[in-house]
Point group: C2
Chain length 337, copies 2
């Protein structure tokens, strides 16, 4: 339980990506050995900028960040979701620009390299569109046998979608890549809207982060102010779903699934109204999800315990009070609340 | 509340269709003025045969039965679901062949005629594939303004499908027709698997029917023996969902919806893995389904009260003890339990 796993994080940073990154830096069971970015909430380049800046703020500037795919496998990047994450992807919070820049390798190359460096033990945590993971599968077809597991924030099994009635944003942003990733023969866990929309961070949690003397916690609290305003339109109160940090926590054992059947899952890559839907075969529901021969995709539907308290506690326990420099950098960002 | 509505029933009889028909004959608020059949559980012709025989057994041989579409709008009839409903569609129960035969008009023609006969008051209860309803819309484009309401047993909103992971059988059997029916501008209620799979008839209910001295109740109890054996594979115990009778009861006020948002709904008519899915936009879930401008499809998700006791009580209150003749006819069918 206390063993530390090497983690490759693939992200599109993004407010909840920032929380997931901070969580993985804080989680004792995780050792983030590389981060790739992909276009999703923001462009891959803006996601890399945000990731580098967050790593510096968090005192982890040594972790390499690789720029990943700008466009999905089919089509081109649609411009992200500024109405959810802000124009800069992190809720208009301005961070000090990091000294470090992106690695020379691409995100897919980094993933393949790390899989070879840590054969059988690398955990892939994918919290953006799956373009980089699909490209890594092309670069190294034996990737599934090299990595320990893949945990994907994405999809909707029995819950509504969030970008269409049936499609979730990460999968909808690159259905062709998601189809390849779900079809690959590895230990894969899907963390869909079913469980992430039920894992809600409330205003009281945000205030705990803001009250901390840690610049990282404060920055996350500020970003969440922006995020909460979007989600107020969904939930009817200021709060937010915890998509990406929950996937990160499930990957490293910080959260435990309660109901998580292993089912057949595919992605609708048609041009019909279901494009981007994760078609998870949940027909075992009425008999408590009996085992399905040939099924490989674990779909997390519920948790043993409410996630938000664990997330806040993990962040506040880990991040120390900030230096003058980082606090000043945050102060210059202005308040987004 | 005690007003009687003229009902056009469109069915593919079918065990649960037989229950829905018997329920509508028994329900005080319903006056079944015509029945059309369509290929689904069985062929339209076998469905018509079963319907005529049931009407005679129930003492309602005067209700006209029209033969409807054998094939869906696109493609051809797939042969039905004998593993669910038996080779004859009614669980291998043999009924006395009715003296009456089918009407000269088609089911679609009957629907249009009845809509003109009862302008503004005809309730359409559609519990099979929607081919006939779509054909009636073609025959009479003003049909939506002529009928009072349309209640469809079909689809799956947030529940799994039953014929594919996401598609329910009635819709999947003719997605093109369903798309036309859901797009028409009328008061339409969808009674999907979300609520029908939660409305379970147990073995104790079946025994109540079998213990009755009514030949109709006995015949339905026998049919349910077959149906229960299929559903034992779904629920893990002998019981069954109550798809069609629930739609009938909701149409005539015998059952009351608890949660039934009015949402945008479409049908996936692509050739992708989502073909036949009812894409209901349930994204209002997290705020208690606020009103959606332009939405027209009422989707029943839950009921005020458990349905099975009402169904059994309604049937047993209405159907009288049988004559020697009908009892003998049933006895000759042999037991299917």
């Amino acid at each position: 339980m206390t063993a530390t796993s090497p983690i490759y994080l693939d992200c599109d940073t993004g407010i909840d990506d920032a929380l997931a990154l901070a969580y993985l830096l804080a989680a004792p069971a995780a050792d983030v050995v590389g981060i790739g970015t992909v276009s999703g909430n923001v462009s891959a380049a803006v996601g890399a900028r945000n990731t580098l800046d967050l790593l510096q703020l968090a005192g982890h500037a040594h972790i390499p960040v690789a720029l990943g795919a700008h466009d999905p496998l089919a089509g081109s990047f649609g411009g992200g979701a500024p109405w959810v994450h802000g124009g800069n992807g992190i809720g208009e919070v301005a961070l000090t620009t990091a000294a470090a820049s992106v690695a020379e390798e691409s995100a897919a190359e980094m993933l393949v390299r790390l899989a070879r460096t840590y054969p059988g033990s690398l955990k892939v945590v994918a919290i953006g569109p799956l373009t980089n993971i699909a490209e890594a599968l092309r670069l190294e077809p034996s990737l599934p046998s090299l990595v320990e597991s893949v945990t994907v924030m994405g999809g909707a099994a029995l819950a509504p979608g969030n970008i269409t009635a049936v499609a979730e944003a990460n999968i909808h942003n690159d259905p062709e890549a998601a189809a390849l990733v779900l079809a690959a023969d590895w230990d894969i866990t899907l963390v869909p809207l079913d469980v992430t929309m039920a894992s809600v961070l409330e205003e009281s949690h945000r205030q705990e982060l803001l009250a901390s003397s840690s610049p990282v916690a404060q920055a996350l609290g500020e970003m969440l102010g922006y995020y909460f305003r979007f989600y107020e339109g969904i939930y009817g109160r200021p709060c937010s779903a915890m998509h990406d940090p929950l996937a990160a926590a499930l990957a490293v054992g910080g959260a435990q699934a309660a109901v998580a059947p292993v089912v057949r899952a595919a992605v609708d890559t048609s041009d019909g109204p279901g494009r981007g839907q994760t078609i998870c075969d949940m027909r075992g529901l009425y008999a408590g999800y009996p085992e399905v021969r040939g099924a490989r995709c674990r779909v997390v539907l519920s948790l043993e315990e409410d996630f938000a308290p664990h997330l806040v506690k993990t962040l506040l326990s880990y991040f120390p009070a900030g230096s003058e420099t980082t606090t000043a950098a945050l102060a210059s960002a202005g308040s987004s609340t």
